[in-house]
Amino acid sequence: MDKKVENYDVVIIGGGAAGMTAGIYCGRARLKTLIIEKALVGGLATYTNEIENYPGFPEGSTGLGLMELFQKQAKKFGVTFKLTDVRDVRLEGKDKVVETFRNEFHCKVVIIASGGKPRLTGAPNEDKYLYDKGISFCATCDAAANTGKTVMVIGSGDAAIEEGIFLTKFASRVIVSVLHDEGVMDCNEIAKGEAMRNEKMEFLWNTTVAEFKGDDEHLHAVALKNSKTGEITDVPVDTCFVFIGYLPNTELFRGMIDMTRGGYVITNEKMETRIPGVFCAGDVRDKFLKQVATAVGDGAIAGYAAEKYIAESEMFENQIMGETPRLVYVYNAASAGDRETLSMMEQYEQCHCDLQFIKADVYKSNGIAQRLNVTQTPCVAYIRDNQVVGCVSCGDICPAAIDTLVGR
């Protein structure tokens, strides 16, 4: 079966907070934009029951509710959503391709906002009990099914403790397995205090999962190993919630773009990867803080950068480069000196009508300058036969120097 080919300006891989924000910016810039999400739109945020630190919602919001608003806004700007997983990508070159099971999407820009997936403990039998068989990564999803039951939470970070507190509204006992010494948790102090006071929560310190135990149908117990004594104890539970962090979803891009040893994508502050036209935003990126609020910031930058990249590519190919001789004046419109030199250039242009004269303002974005290898403004580049023949910059710019540059 041949895959159906569709063309877009921008394809965003991942429909979480970062991807949808990038989508909002691209859609609003009238770019034909597609967001591909493999499961539920909203990404990791939908796993969180309460989001209290996203500005603009003083009463707090549910993760799902907040993400529905993001999607509504993206749709308002004409962004298309496709719910499937990406099978393959070809990122190099001008025409980039993102392949899914039935489609091939061609585009000018790819924004990687693929986020993360829950980290597993790696203990024996974990595979056997994932999702509906007793091991869960989503308290919001599976809390109600555990009403009146005993559950275990693995981990002591913000997600583990906050979701553990949420679980106490349903389960009768919430047993928390913590890797650290008594009283030490990775979560914030507020959550810690609340958890310690919660009567339904019990803590098993210095423990890690040794094995998951149960029958063919369901998990029955978690065997915990005490890291100090080496003692292994079976703890009977109905469901075990694992919150020990996330791993980036970057297998698809391995070897194509630069990543850290942990698999997080390395970008600069413009969310650019090593490949021109490929940007990266959100939790999948190597960064200090992973929150909805920071994902939104990344997404905005990536969306804006994508728009600039497309506009500059078009300008570069259609105006700057060409067969006929031309002078490109690269300048910063905010600089008085650059503007002064501009008037001199305009006079020069009037005396040399056979030369095409193009102005490239780099005040907002220096993509054109980068493509011409220009590091300082003002700068005059002479282009002929689709090649930069030479440049004159800054104080050296004068009619005589330009005459020499164009060979007169």
Binding site: L40, L83, T84, D85, L130, D132, C141, D142, A144
Partner: protein, 73 residues
């Protein structure tokens, strides 16, 4: 290459996934199962589970908060 349907409307996790697993066991390779769901939590585990089994999965949003999960065995 038959197509089957499974109605999981109004059912919360983990019921849709359990039903999907049971139904998929009765299908032959190449068959397609369309699962109708309206609980967002099932949107996380049903496609995730199916992909882990190596099936092709695509989801269509039929209406606001209503999805068809298309699984090809």
């Amino acid at each position: 290459m038959a197509e089957f349907e499974l109605d999981c409307m109004g059912e919360a996790c983990p019921v849709p996934l359990m039903k999907t697993e049971k139904k998929m066991n009765t299908l032959s390779a190449g068959d397609v199962l369309v699962v109708h769901i309206d609980h967002s939590c099932a949107m996380k585990n049903v496609p995730e589970w199916a992909r882990k089994q190596g099936y092709n999965v695509e989801v269509e949003e039929v209406d606001d908060g209503e999805w068809d999960v298309i699984i090809e065995k």
